[in-house]
């Protein structure tokens, strides 16, 4: 007597799970890129609205647990039809569990549970608005001027963008422990200072919005500039900064010309990212880039926001940077670029900000308009400003002008000096190539 076959049907029926008994290969539903990261940001914002900003860590933990739960079950049971709603429901249940256990919450139980109960089973448009609202509140809290700036950027990346301390550390070239410490301190400061979880109103809104924009600008630049860190994570920093800025721009409280100017600047610069490196990851100069690889849809979106940024009398650094980026992205090739207009933008930018790096970039535009010799004279005039002499890019630009004038020996010396000043491998490779070109032409 041998009931049942050695392998097969019986065990399958005894374990209820989707698909395992199906004979034909099953289609695996795909998750959209970064779905988890993006949902994490949304859920932390929504839960912070319920727990209170002083319990930010708890909101983050609940969201992490919901994600871990998905990791434990989806690989066996399949991806649910609406993954975002599943995560939201799971986070909600975890939140209710925690609340029932904690004394603090037991005292406020009816109110909090009522709020949580209102979370819909599916994402609905009104709830979407609430999430946007929650995200904006959290953004204002994370970018509060009483928090140190490095804590603001780390906290925004952790809570709003769903980056882990390790990922943040690799973007900022620091250690995971340092980022974790920064985050803990930032959360403590928020609780100690009683930083509110709200969208500021009236006159306060304007200055606080500037703080939020500055953090988004820093995040974008950190991703865009090649000064340090892991290039994959850094590209994502740009995308996240754009994503946050786009969601912010649709909120009435943030719908300001300078908001659109910042977003336009990000979109227009990000459009060039695909063409910025060659296949081996080497840096390509603007004049050597394949312009067909520029992202036309990003350029189009950037130009729309540039148009919107022109409403009103505001003229910010973001406006000028967006204007410069627009000149590049609408030029059919390098020589066809409207350099006089770019130079005019830099002139006005220098009036707003006396930054030596702006002055250096202006000198590049000046050399394009008035010739390499005039460019060198501009560079020499600013050499002593703010340690420019110790900045690799200064010498790289100088070498470029010298090379154009046929001063190959001087150019080689400049590229050598630049090489000594950078530790980034791609920049070193780029400069080595330029140096070799000067030496072989001699």
């Amino acid at each position: 007597m041998l009931p049942g076959r050695p392998h097969g049907g019986r065990s399958l029926r005894s374990i209820p799970r989707h698909g395992l008994s199906a004979e034909a290969p099953t289609e695996i539903p795909r998750l959209t890129d970064h779905l988890f990261r993006h949902e994490a940001g949304k859920l932390v914002s929504a839960l912070t609205g319920i727990f209170g900003i002083h319990r930010l860590q708890m909101a983050e933990d609940v969201v992490q647990e919901a994600m871990v739960r998905a990791l434990q079950t989806w690989p066996y049971h399949g991806i649910p039809e609406n993954p975002a709603a599943w995560l939201m429901q799971t986070a909600k249940r975890r939140a209710l569990d925690l609340i029932r256990r904690e004394k603090f919450f037991r005292e406020n139980l009816p109110e909090i549970t009522a709020t949580l109960e209102q979370w819909p089973e599916e994402e609905t448009p009104p709830f979407d608005d609430e999430i946007k609202d929650g995200r904006l509140r959290l953004m204002f809290a994370c970018c509060h001027p009483d928090l140190p700036q490095d804590a603001q950027t780390a906290l925004a990346l952790k809570t709003l963008c769903g980056f882990s301390p390790a990922e943040i550390a690799s973007a900022f070239l620091t250690t995971e422990a340092a980022i974790a410490k920064r985050l803990t301190r930032a959360r403590q400061r928020i609780a100690e200072l009683g930083i509110p979880f709200e969208i500021p109103e009236g006159t306060e809104l304007s200055s606080r919005l500037d703080g939020v924009l500055r953090i988004l600008y820093l995040l974008f630049n950190e991703g865009y500039s090649a000064s340090s860190g892991d290039s994959v994570v850094r590209g994502e920093l740009c995308q996240e900064a754009i994503r946050l800025a786009e969601s912010l721009a649709t909120h009435p409280a943030a719908d300001h010309p300078r908001m659109h100017a910042l977003l336009s600047m990000m979109l227009l610069n990000a459009a060039r990212l695909p063409a910025r490196e060659d296949l081996r990851g080497n840096i390509l100069l603007l004049k050597d880039q394949d312009r067909t690889r520029w992202d036309r849809s990003l350029i189009a979106r950037g130009l729309v926001h540039l148009h919107e940024s022109a409403a009103g009398r505001d003229l910010t650094e973001y406006h000028l940077q967006a204007g410069i980026a627009a000149c590049h992205s609408t030029a059919s090739d390098y020589d066809d670029t409207d350099w006089p207009r770019i130079l005019a933008h830099y002139d006005r930018w220098l009036e707003i900000s006396a930054s030596p790096v702006v002055a250096l970039n202006r000198a590049v535009a000046y050399g394009q308009v008035h010739g390499a010799a005039a460019g060198i004279a501009e560079l020499e005039a600013i050499r002593d400003q703010g340690h420019l002499d110790g900045y690799y890019f200064f010498h790289a630009v100088l070498g470029d002008f010298q090379e154009r004038l046929g001063q190959l020996e001087a150019a080689a010396a400049s590229f050598t000096r630049a090489l000594q000043l950078t530790a980034v491998k791609q920049e070193q490779l780029f400069l080595t190539d330029r140096l070799r070109a000067c030496l072989t032409r001699e």
Partner: protein
């Protein structure tokens, strides 16, 4: 006499141990591992190598007959706990180990224990019943 018929008389069991290996993963990493695990699972299923598989809840009870006590479990040390299992329809330990090595969470602190399922033909079972009547083995 009631006998227990084993559901499987051959194959290998993969036990995924340690429940807290994923605590420090970022949402992106979680998604990546999950996607790869899904593909792995579906692939094994479609090749006919996977008979069953399921995650286990973190909570449970440990029943100890000696003291008659029932304790919260599964283990005091949560890193020892089994978080899920696969029952594979493969005959050799080598093949089962090769499959275990493909586990997408290996590198993130998970431990996969590979155990052959004991063959249990009627003759063996009679021997078992005679020699160890009170001892039920899996």
């Amino acid at each position: 006499m009631a006998t227990i018929t084993p559901t499987h008389t051959s194959g290998h069991l993969l036990l995924f141990k340690s429940t807290d290996w994923h605590k420090d993963l970022s949402p992106d990493q979680i998604q990546q591992i999950m996607t790869r695990w899904n593909d792995w699972f579906e692939g094994l299923k479609n090749e006919g190598k996977l008979i069953a598989g399921s995650p286990l809840e973190n909570e449970g009870r440990v029943v100890s007959t000696k003291t008659g006590s029932v304790a919260d479990g599964p283990f005091a040390e949560s890193k020892e706990a089994v978080g899920g299992y696969f029952l594979l329809n493969v005959e050799s330990m080598d093949e089962a180990v090769a499959i275990a090595k493909q586990c997408p969470a290996l590198g993130h602190g998970i431990i996969v224990e590979v155990r052959p399922v004991a063959p249990c033909c009627p003759a063996d079972r009679m021997v078992d019943e005679v020699s160890a009547p009170s001892h039920a083995t899996a």
